[in-house]
């Protein structure tokens, strides 16, 4: 395959960036999108040009490190697929691909396709710990969880924190991410002691970081590589209201 790429190049957070054209030649359709970028980078490196910087780690869709706007869509054209799981067979030979970093005020670009997702870390930190006894294994049947709750909590826990939801949202909201984290613990018995304070703190942290508000465009759900449902946003809103009233 031979492709034309337009890639956002930006040397550092303080410098201006621009789109740069590259040729991606001899691309095997069975390569992943990141492997295609690896090949382009090897070629750049051989020519003495600095490679395109992008985040990546597990390359099997479970770590949440990678993510970029591909032809204007977070993680590219395939549903429920992280950038690393996207393969070149889904692109047309001879086509053009535009690659940009996540675009959100709360995710400043650090270099090329790498953005600072520290805002997500701070939302997680604001949720603090859960109170559980450590030191010995609890008796297996002492804490009961219904299958329904366990499944719902697991669905929420599937969030890998990649940030595609924010990048796709016209408001730059982090609601889907925060809702997944809040719901995960609100549904489980282990999350009950801090249930009220946690949702208040996390929603406040989310607002503090400069994310926008959710107006239910559902763009987040459409690009989420883990298919996290916007139902969790409704759950977060309910949890928040409940905590305010109880508080």
């Amino acid at each position: 395959m031979h492709l034309t790429l337009y890639v956002w190049r930006q040397k550092s957070a303080s410098l201006k960036g621009k789109m740069v054209r590259y040729a991606a030649d001899d691309i095997n359709p069975d390569m992943s999108f990141l492997e295609m970028l690896d090949v382009v980078n090897w070629q750049l490196n051989e020519k003495g040009e600095e490679p395109i910087a992008f985040d990546h780690d597990c390359r099997e869709g479970i770590c949440g490190s990678c993510g970029m706007m591909i032809n204007g869509v977070a993680h590219g054209p395939r549903r429920a697929t992280a950038t690393c799981q996207l393969h070149m067979r889904h692109f047309k030979d001879g086509g053009t691909i535009y690659i940009e970093p996540w675009r959100s005020r709360a995710f400043p670009v650090l270099r090329d396709l790498i953005v600072d997702r520290g805002a997500f870390d701070r939302i997680i930190q604001s949720g603090r710990y859960i109170s559980v006894s450590t030191g010995s294994a609890p008796e297996a049947n002492s804490v009961l969880v219904t299958k329904q709750d366990s499944d719902r909590a697991m669905d929420a826990a599937a969030c890998i924190g990649c940030g595609a939801c924010v990048a796709a949202c016209p408001n730059g909201a982090a609601s889907l991410f925060t809702a997944a984290k809040v719901s995960h613990f609100a549904l489980l018995p282990q999350g009950q002691p801090e249930r009220q304070s946690r949702v208040i703190r996390m929603v406040e942290a989310m607002d503090r970081e400069g994310f926008g508000n959710c107006t239910m465009h559902r763009e987040c759900e459409a690009v989420c590589p883990k298919s996290i449902s916007v139902d969790f946003i409704a759950r977060m809103n309910r949890e928040y209201l409940r905590s305010l009233l109880k508080g």
Binding site: Q85, T134, S136
Partner: protein, 269 residues
């Protein structure tokens, strides 16, 4: 039932292969998945550096010579939930923790060592990319210290690694600078580490003249091709003491004693 248990794996498989495993048989082949071992720790999970605790897969123990899927979670949880709450708090309760300043000579020395190393990477300005050296080392290890190992292959790898290391330090080209994010520079640091680690893994695989867990030596197999254990001679943990780059590490044997169960050959039949 299959969807419930393996849905996420099937989804991953479909993304990679473009084949739906619910419809067509899965194509599976053996591959390296993990490298056993890690930093040596004592029963309290403290390393040879006082106060430095190592948990999860950064340390050596727990799953022995074979690592099954999801052991990362098991090891992290077991250490974090059951061991560290006792041992770390025990250490903190008894240790004298003074103020540490960045003016301390130890800190200064370490900082300047690292700064020198970064400068060294950037000043070599050779002809090889970090990736090309990484791939050369990777291929050598894959062929000689991978799923099937032999004395000859391991010795061959041990002869080759010093040459690749020399090539790296003489002829690598790391572009860019140290003041902004530089992934090539980060990778150069990792590959420099791998060049030492690869040699250690080969030393260990060569010394262990038996097959055990994921360590399969061609010379040590049963007539029907299964791993041939030698618990009489190799019932120990190999703890290798670092003696400096390019120098042979020293083997410290920690004997394994089994009181209730005895190790036996695993049958996959």
């Amino acid at each position: 039932m299959i969807r419930e248990k393996y849905g996420n794996l099937f989804e991953m498989y479909e993304r990679i292969t473009a084949e739906n495993p619910y419809d067509v048989p899965m194509r599976i082949y053996p591959a390296m998945h993990y490298t056993m071992g890690g930093l040596w720790v004592d029963y309290n999970l403290m390393s040879t550096i006082t106060g430095l605790f190592v948990i999860g897969e950064a340390k050596f123990s727990d799953h022995g010579a074979n690592r099954l899927g999801a052991s990362a979670l098991m090891q992290g949880l077991a250490d974090g939930y059951f061991i560290l709450p006792y041992t770390l708090s025990g250490y903190l309760a008894t240790a004298k923790l003074g103020q540490v300043s960045i003016d301390s000579p130890v800190f200064q020395k370490s900082e300047s060592q690292h700064a020198d190393r970064v400068k060294q990477f950037l000043s070599i300005k050779g002809k090889r990319t970090v990736d090309s050296i990484h791939q050369e080392l990777g291929k050598l290890m894959w062929n000689n210290c991978g799923i099937i190992r032999s004395e000859r292959g391991l010795q061959h790898a041990l002869e080759q690694i010093p040459g690749i290391r020399k090539e790296f330090w003489r002829n690598v080209n790391v572009l860019g600078s140290e003041v902004e994010i530089n992934q090539a520079l980060e990778k150069a640091g990792r590959v420099a580490d791998f060049l030492e680690l690869a040699e250690l893994v080969c030393f260990d695989a060569l010394e262990r003249a038996e097959s055990c867990g994921c360590h399969f030596r061609k010379e040590f197999q049963t007539p029907d091709g299964e791993a041939h254990r030698d618990d009489e001679h190799f019932c120990y943990v190999s703890a290798w003491e670092y003696t400096g780059e390019g120098r042979r590490p020293v083997l410290r044997k920690e004997l394994l004693e089994f009181e209730y169960v005895t190790p036996s050959q695993r049958s996959y039949k």
